[in-house]
């Protein structure tokens, strides 16, 4: 209970980092202090390998994905897309589609609220929605969509940064310049020019990273249904409240008129952070027709028009003293962003990962006529680390130094970007443990499996802000039978949110885990939580859940004290029972709540502010062992060792699943994945999952993932940080480094497809130096 005489403000401002961006946020100060769980806290459920709460439903095919929602009279929408990259709609002929039996409605630009920005007649990328059809079945809707004739006038398009800089036209109306910010974004610390001039050893390398597609197996999907002036939207999303806000704004509704539900979703990886065209199409049709409408994006639409990780070109120059201390890092980079998106700079990690007094990054980000960029697991860092780590390897070679030793020599002891300490950086331990696990010192003795194959090893590191932050809220309530529910307006992307919230609540309540259930994924039932992005959910939400549970536990103990006629401070809770110190009596939670009838015990929890002037990061190192076939150019990744420090691990099994997932996506980024583009037509050439090749079962190496034990009580009251994005950052550069080690020659461009490997070998000296 808040002290009414207390004068401390209830709302204060704190800083929160989301995907590398720092935001100021108002935060509600928790009503009572909660002592953080330190590294030595004795915990039962937190840290346990609890089974995934919805695992069994998923294996039954009964987890309710949005694509499985079936509402009364539900109809289906299909999207008609532009097949030119830049131009203007002259006319749309819907006559043939309209008469197809089963077609219910067709909408174009004139039929939707302007704020949806749907079906804009000015075409700015290939795949832009221009119209939509609604029909009784998906098949009819798709057939009708193919009958809609759209006449367009073509304009010249832009797909490269160079094109964007030299073009006399703009990639889209409303821009003042095709480059974000009108020119390169230059960030400099120290004096790079002077440091390079005075350098003892300097290297320069150029790398290219591919445009990567999220390719979640469940495409974007929404089902909308109106009831009077209120709409319910089932959306496959990483942020139910953000979708609520998007829909309300687009359709001029109050927030109370929009309810968003996401009980299960089939993967997001950053692409499902907002409502999309499909959402607004479903909402618009549902309003016009008076019944539910589903808009399920098809696979080509998913690959073209739901976001991507843009390609990059990076030229890195690095300097060091002869004994391996970094003295300068200079990056020039370009990013063809797509038609929209935010500044996800490959430059940021150059300022952060390794200790260096003089760092300059100059990055040109261009708006071009391809589909929009969307955050993709560690946006910016995953790209930047490829160039930075290749530079480190080149520098190690020039210094005749072990690449691991060079990294160990240059660990960043504090947050150099913002000039503040970290709550902790145990990268040195990650290197040591990883090196031990991969057998780094004896790696030269590992023989390849055939004479034409070569074995190689690589190492790379990672830093990523994972402190999370407010606002995040939870309610914990006890039912009359003593079971508990956690209510939170969050969502489970497959990360295990549902499971860990129950673990934290059970721990703080002193309850049995099987008596606690998390109810999430519905804006109508759970209090506000932000998107599941930026590796933030655990560090943001679990402290709120812990506080709500502590609040509920206080009320429970007050009630039990009355029943048992003892002082509250003699009571404790353990595995669903209230116990009395120095007394054999105890009561099951259900016995206490039963005495209360339907009086509810409810705890309120809010996430408090982040600590001031300190950086909260997850760090880690990954090691790769590869074998490269010099005849075919095929790269086989044999082993990845990953060691990360993510603070307290709430559930090691789920954390390992996420770590393996990040590594496997990183392997795809390194070895297979790229969206090729026909630059002449502005046409993406990967429309499916065969031409955009993600890792299959046959591509998976042995993965040895490990988390350092510990907790970060300075970060938040649970002591946990995030792991989702840290997992992917070092994988591709570790693999690229291992391939270079195997071949004795660098392959400068990702992905490391056979022809790139063979081309690099072709230009290399005939035999590698010993």
């Amino acid at each position: 209970m808040a002290d009414p005489t207390k004068t401390a403000p209830r709302f204060v401002t704190t800083t929160v980092e989301v995907e590398g961006r720092t935001e100021e946020r108002v935060v509600e100060v928790p009503a009572f202090p909660v002592e953080p769980w330190g590294p030595d806290a004795q915990l039962t459920h937190v840290g346990a390998r609890a089974r995934r709460a919805d695992g069994l439903l998923k294996t039954m095919g009964r987890a309710p994905y949005v694509t499985d929602v079936r509402r009364p009279n539900q109809a289906y929408a299909a999207i008609v897309r532009s097949d030119v990259a830049r131009g203007r709609v002259l006319s749309i002929d819907t006559a043939a589609a309209r008469v197809l039996p089963g077609v219910l409605d067709i909408i174009t630009h004139a039929d939707v609220p302007a704020r949806t920005r749907l079906f804009l007649p000015e075409i700015t990328y290939l795949g832009q929605p221009l119209a939509a059809v609604c029909a009784t079945t998906s098949a009819i809707a798709e057939a009708a969509a193919a009958l809609i004739r759209i006449e367009t006038e073509r304009f010249p398009h832009i797909v490269t940064v160079e094109g964007a800089e030299t073009s006399t036209t703009l990639a889209r109306p409303g821009l003042s310049h095709n480059l974000m910010g009108g020119g390169p974004k230059v960030v400099e610390r120290g004096d790079v020019t002077a440091a390079l001039a005075a350098a003892e050893v300097v290297i320069t390398r150029e790398v290219r990273t591919p445009c990567a597609l999220h390719s979640a197996l469940e495409p974007h999907a929404a089902v909308a249904e109106w009831e009077g002036d209120r709409v319910t939207v089932w959306e496959s999303t990483q942020g139910i409240f953000r979708v609520r806000d998007n829909v309300a704004k687009a359709f001029g509704l109050s927030l109370a008129q929009v309810r968003v539900i996401c009980e299960a979703m089939g993967g997001g990886f950053g692409a499902k952070n907002n409502a999309g065209a499909h959402t607004f199409i479903a909402v618009a049709f549902a309003k016009r027709l008076g019944h539910a409408v589903a808009c399920l994006v098809d696979r080509p639409g998913e690959q073209i028009d739901t976001g991507n990780r843009p390609s990059t070109w990076q030229r890195v120059t690095m300097a060091a003293t002869r004994d391996g201390q970094l003295t300068a890092i200079d990056l020039e980079a370009t990013v063809p962003l797509g038609i929209s998106g935010w500044e996800e700079s490959p430059g940021d990690i150059y300022h952060e990962l390794y200790a260096c007094p003089n760092v300059r990054t100059s990055v040109r980000i261009a708006y071009v006529n391809t589909g929009t960029m969307a955050a993709f697991r560690a946006p910016g860092h995953a790209e930047g680390s490829v160039g930075l780590e290749m530079g480190m390897n080149a520098l190690a070679q020039a210094l005749e130094m072990d690449p691991l030793a060079l990294r160990e020599r240059n660990i960043a002891t504090h947050d150099q970007r913002r000039g503040r300490p970290y709550t902790g950086n145990r990268l040195a331990e990650c290197y040591a443990e990883g090196a031990r696990r991969i057998g780094w010192v004896s790696r030269a003795t590992r023989a390849p499996s055939a004479p034409h194959r070569r074995r190689g090893f690589g190492v790379a590191s990672q830093v990523w802000s994972t402190g999370g932050g407010p606002p995040a809220y939870a309610t914990v309530r006890l039912n009359p039978d003593g079971t508990a529910e956690v209510l939170a307006g969050s969502q489970d992307l497959g990360t295990g949110t549902r499971t860990i919230l129950a673990q934290v609540a059970a721990e703080a309540l002193g309850h049995r885990l099987d008596a606690v259930r998390a109810v999430i994924g519905d804006t109508a039932t759970g209090p506000y939580n932000g998107n599941s992005w930026g590796s933030m959910t655990v560090a943001s939400l679990t402290p709120a859940v812990r506080m709500a549970a502590e609040d509920a536990r206080r009320a429970l103990l007050d009630a039990a004290a009355g029943i048992l006629n003892v002082a509250v401070d003699r009571l404790a809770t353990h595995e669903g029972r209230v116990t009395v110190r120095d007394d054999e009596r105890s009561l099951a939670f259900g016995e206490v709540t039963a005495k209360l009838g339907n009086v509810m015990i409810q705890g309120h929890g809010s996430r408090g502010p982040n600590p001031d002037a300190v950086g909260i990061v997850t760090t880690g190192a990954q090691f790769a062992e590869v074998e490269v076939d010099t005849e075919t150019g095929v790269v086989r990744v044999l082993r990845i060792v990953a060691v990360h420090d993510a603070g307290r691990i709430v559930n090691p099994t789920l954390a390992e699943s996420q770590l393996e997932g990040g590594i496997i996506q990183g392997l795809g980024y390194a070895c297979f994945e790229e969206r090729p583009l026909d630059e002449r037509l502005g046409r993406p050439l990967a429309l499916g999952l065969h031409d955009y090749k993600t890792p299959t079962h046959a591509d998976i190496p042995l993965i040895d993932g490990h988390f350092l034990e510990g907790a970060d009580p300075q970060a938040n009251t649970v002591g946990a940080r995030g792991i989702a994005e840290p997992a992917i950052i070092p994988t591709a550069p570790a693999i690229a480094g291992a391939v270079a080690d195997a071949l004795g020659v660098e392959v400068p461009d990702l992905p490391l497809t056979p022809w790139r490997v063979l081309a690099a070998l072709h230009h290399a000296p005939q035999h590698r130096s010993p």
Binding site: L56, T137, A216, G494, I700
Partner: protein
């Protein structure tokens, strides 16, 4: 047409162009079989046709006339899960879970052919089933675990 669906006879008269996937999901309400691509690339729609795994999105339902189709709904129940389903839970072989039913149906076919499969046989049998969350290592472990449990069960 007639087919056996999860052990039960079904009479149906779907339009000729209906895929098995649409028949299952839209005509029969069996939404456990997923539509990840609808172009025979991802494997989320995998079901068994006379015991063999097929992509139901590229199988016309009329090809199933007189044949037996098994879907994830026919495998086990929450109260009595199939050993593969139990093993997937025990190994945490699901993340988002969207590929899971297809992976499990492909695994049923692997274990029907080979009671004690090698990892290579499991990988070959599941290589038509994509997983974007990167759950592959745990999926293979789960199939291995289920195989052992099934051998134990059959040897009593």
């Amino acid at each position: 047409m007639h087919l056996t669906l999860n052990g039960r006879p079904v009479d149906a008269d779907p339009p000729g162009e209906t895929t098995l996937l649409d028949f299952l999901r839209d005509h029969r309400g069996l939404t456990g079989t997923k539509r990840g691509c609808d172009r025979a690339e991802c494997g989320t729609c995998t079901v068994l046709l006379d015991g063999e795994p097929v992509y139901s999105c590229r199988t016309l339902v009329h090809r199933c006339d007189g044949r037996a189709v098994e879907t994830i709904e026919g495998l086990g129940t929450v109260d009595a899960p199939h050993l593969l389903q139990e093993a997937f839970v025990a190994e945490d072989a699901t993340q988002c879970g969207f590929c899971t039913p297809g992976q499990i149906m492909a695994a049923v076919a692997v274990l029907a052919r080979e009671a004690d499969p090698t990892d290579e046989q499991i990988i070959a049998g599941l290589s038509g089933n994509l997983c974007r969350c990167g759950t592959h290592p745990k999926i293979v472990r789960a199939v291995r675990r289920a195989a052992a449990a099934m051998r134990t069960a059959s040897h009593g």
